[in-house]
């Protein structure tokens, strides 16, 4: 496996901000760049011991899959589900438009 020693460039952090949908300010990108590179140095060494013969762990307490009893329950009402929405109309969430102007 290839060892990756990352260096976070401004462009990369801006791109990650786009992917994560956070409109980072220029000042935030500058600050984060220094901090992320220090953090990356400290954590990159996990690659030292991660050889191919070691299986990955996702859940530390593995459980067998099992079927739960099929019992009907009352879910939240529509009113409850919408109670804290920023905008609603006719029992629905109102969202800004999905497509751009073009």
């Amino acid at each position: 496996m290839m060892w990756i020693m990352p260096t976070f460039t401004r462009e990369e952090i801006e791109h990650l901000g786009d992917l994560a949908r956070i409109a980072l300010t220029d000042e935030e990108v500058t600050r984060m760049q220094g901090q992320l590179n220090v953090i990356a140095d400290a954590i990159a060494k996990v690659q030292e011991v991660a050889s191919d013969d070691i299986p990955p762990t996702a859940n530390p307490v593995p459980l067998e899959a099992y079927m739960r009893p099929d019992v009907a329950v009352t879910p939240l009402t529509q009113e409850q589900a919408l109670a804290d929405a920023p905008a609603t109309e006719d029992g629905m969430f109102v969202a800004p438009r999905i497509m751009g102007e073009e």
Binding site: M1, M2, W3, I4, P6, F8, E12, I13, L16, G17, D18, L19, A20, R21, I22, A23, L24, T25, E28, R31, M32, Q35, L36, I39, A42, I43, A44, K45, V46, Q47, E48, V49, A50, S51, I54, P55, P56, T57, A58, N59, P60, V61, L63, Y66, R68, L76, A81, A83, D84, A85, P86, A87, F93, A95, P96, R97, I98, M99, G100, E101
Partner: protein, 518 residues
């Protein structure tokens, strides 16, 4: 109110939860009287401590009255031992009808439409909820300074942090604002504040306490657990909130071990036959001399009660911090994607001149609603999960996780429990580590391994360091054997109390209580 009444309240709030419960059962005190006494302390202490984000006075009094009525009619048979005792809840756990924010601006004003499973159990037990306690935003931090709302102070020195993320719950319990509280622990957020405030904090086995209704931070690491002043109180609360829950797919479908029984057993101070493993990788270098000294003395106390101490090695623990700071931010970036300004929480429209689209609204909302630390972790996690880096980062971290689990399994072949100091240092000053995230992350170097391995761990007070600040002693036990750590923890607590002539919190200066007694 007369002076006599006030001094009685002062005594009341200093009782342990178990003692309060005894007085309730013997009808020497009502649940309402306890709630009123705690509310008075909260009113007096909050200007200097600021442990709470929200005080649910009316709800607490109503819950107390409902319990007292039931109790008067003899209808409390079969309720848990802590029935009627008030509790504080970390604001990372959802409470129906009570504002829940995770100390984030993005959830300001959010009133959950449902209760977490642990809250359902607390309510069924007739335990009045005093309020919601402060934390680092979305439980991300080790000092509670990352709260978007307020800074919680350490009652031992109000110029210092209470630890984090659960600094609110720990400070509330240490300052006698509540006898017990609930916290959440993803990398030490219950145990490290416990160490820094001189309280008991437990992270149960992963899957041992339902996470349904715990606001998700890093789902494979998060665990709800008890915060208290005594080991027995933690055990009583642990049994009350623990057990299988069909609403949590990672909940273990097996009964809990006998935790309370183990704690009571430990109080007898006999540890013959108990094998204690000293993890050589989490001790010595990097730990303050005052922390190490109290730890060594506590270890000696365990030996004096008959425990056998052996040194064990967990060679991969030096990779734990790295693995944690890959896995945790990855899960954070995924879990916190739900805060998108669509269905609940904050919505901020993009500035004029920018396309008013859903995507731009999300970016504007998340920029405005999240604080620095949360953004940093989301960006780091987004990186670790991106194409091209996934195998090297996330994949490697998951393999390290396997190695750490194996280290623990091997160590537990040689001993019943493992021990270490809880935190490398005592409580630090506000601002000291805020500009240097990595130094802040190192606060959790001794607590993180338990979350990665899913094993239970707890911190109990080991005494005061040379600087007069509390030191924590940490126990680890094998998965699903939480009972094994409660016995030596209760024994150590009893031995240290005996040597000191009383609980450590007796020596805490509490001007907020004295002003009540005047």
């Amino acid at each position: 109110m007369s002076q006599q009444d006030n001094s009685r309240q002062d005594d009341l709030v200093r009782l342990s939860a178990a003692e309060m419960a005894d007085k309730i059962r013997n009808k020497q005190v009502s649940s309402r009287e306890l709630v009123e006494a705690e509310l008075k302390v909260i009113e007096s202490a909050e200007p200097s401590i600021q442990a709470f984000l929200h005080i649910s006075k009316d709800e607490a009094l109503a819950q107390a009255d409902a319990f007292d009525k039931k109790h008067a009619s003899g209808d409390t048979e079969g309720l848990p031992e802590l029935a009627g005792v008030p509790i504080a809840i970390k604001d990372m756990i959802v409470t129906k009808g009570i504002e829940t924010t995770a100390a984030s601006k993005i959830l300001e004003g959010w009133v959950p439409p449902y209760d977490a499973t642990v809250i359902t159990k607390i309510k069924a037990a007739g335990m009045p909820i005093l309020g919601k306690t402060n934390l680092d935003e979305f439980a991300q931090g080790s000092s509670t300074e990352h709260s978007a709302y307020t800074t919680t102070h350490n009652p031992w020195d109000t110029e210092r942090v209470p630890g984090g993320s659960g600094g609110g719950s720990a400070s509330a319990v240490a300052s006698f604002e509540a006898p017990v509280a609930l916290g959440t622990d993803t990398g030490g957020s219950i145990r490290q504040p416990g160490a820094l405030t001189g309280t008991v904090g437990v992270k149960p086995t992963y899957g041992g306490v339902s996470r349904f209704g715990a606001i998700a931070m890093a789902s494979s690491l998060d665990q709800i657990g008890p915060v208290s002043r005594t080991v027995l109180d933690a055990a009583l609360l642990h049994e009350l909130i623990g057990g299988y829950d069909e609403h949590d797919s990672t909940s273990i479908p097996k009964p809990l071990p006998s935790i309370v029984k183990a704690a009571r057993e430990g109080q007898k101070m006999d540890l013959k036959g108990v094998k204690v493993g000293l993890i050589k990788e989490i001790s010595g270098e990097g730990f303050q001399p005052g922390v190490q000294a109290r730890f060594d003395e506590a270890l000696k106390a365990l030996q004096n009660m008959g425990a056998e101490v052996v040194e064990v090695s967990c060679p991969h623990l030096s990779y734990a911090l790295g693995a944690y700071y890959i896995i945790m931010p990855s899960e954070v970036s995924s879990n916190l994607a739900r805060y998108d300004g669509m269905r609940y929480g904050l919505r901020v429209m993009p500035p004029t001149g920018t396309d008013q689209t859903a995507a731009n609204m999300m970016a504007a909302t998340r920029e405005a609603g999240f604080g620095d630390e949360v953004k940093r972790r989301i960006i780091l996690g987004t990186y670790a999960l991106s194409a091209g880096y996934y195998d090297a980062w996330y994949g490697s971290a998951q393999k390290v996780r396997t190695l750490i689990i194996r280290d623990y399994e091997n160590a537990f072949k040689q001993c019943d429990v493992l021990v270490s100091p809880t935190s490398p240092s005592t409580a630090f000053k506000f601002g000291e580590k805020m500009d240097d995230p990595l130094t802040m992350y190192l606060e959790d170097v001794a607590t993180i391994p338990a979350n990665l391995a899913g094993v239970p761990a707890m911190s109990i007070p080991a005494g005061l360091s040379d600087d007069g600040l509390p030191v924590g002693f940490q126990f680890f036990a094998p998965q699903m054997r939480d009972d094994l750590m409660y016995k030596p923890a209760a024994a150590l607590e009893a031995a240290l109390d005996q040597a000191r002539g009383g609980p450590m919190l007796q020596s805490l200066k509490t001007p907020w209580l004295e002003s009540l007694a005047k």
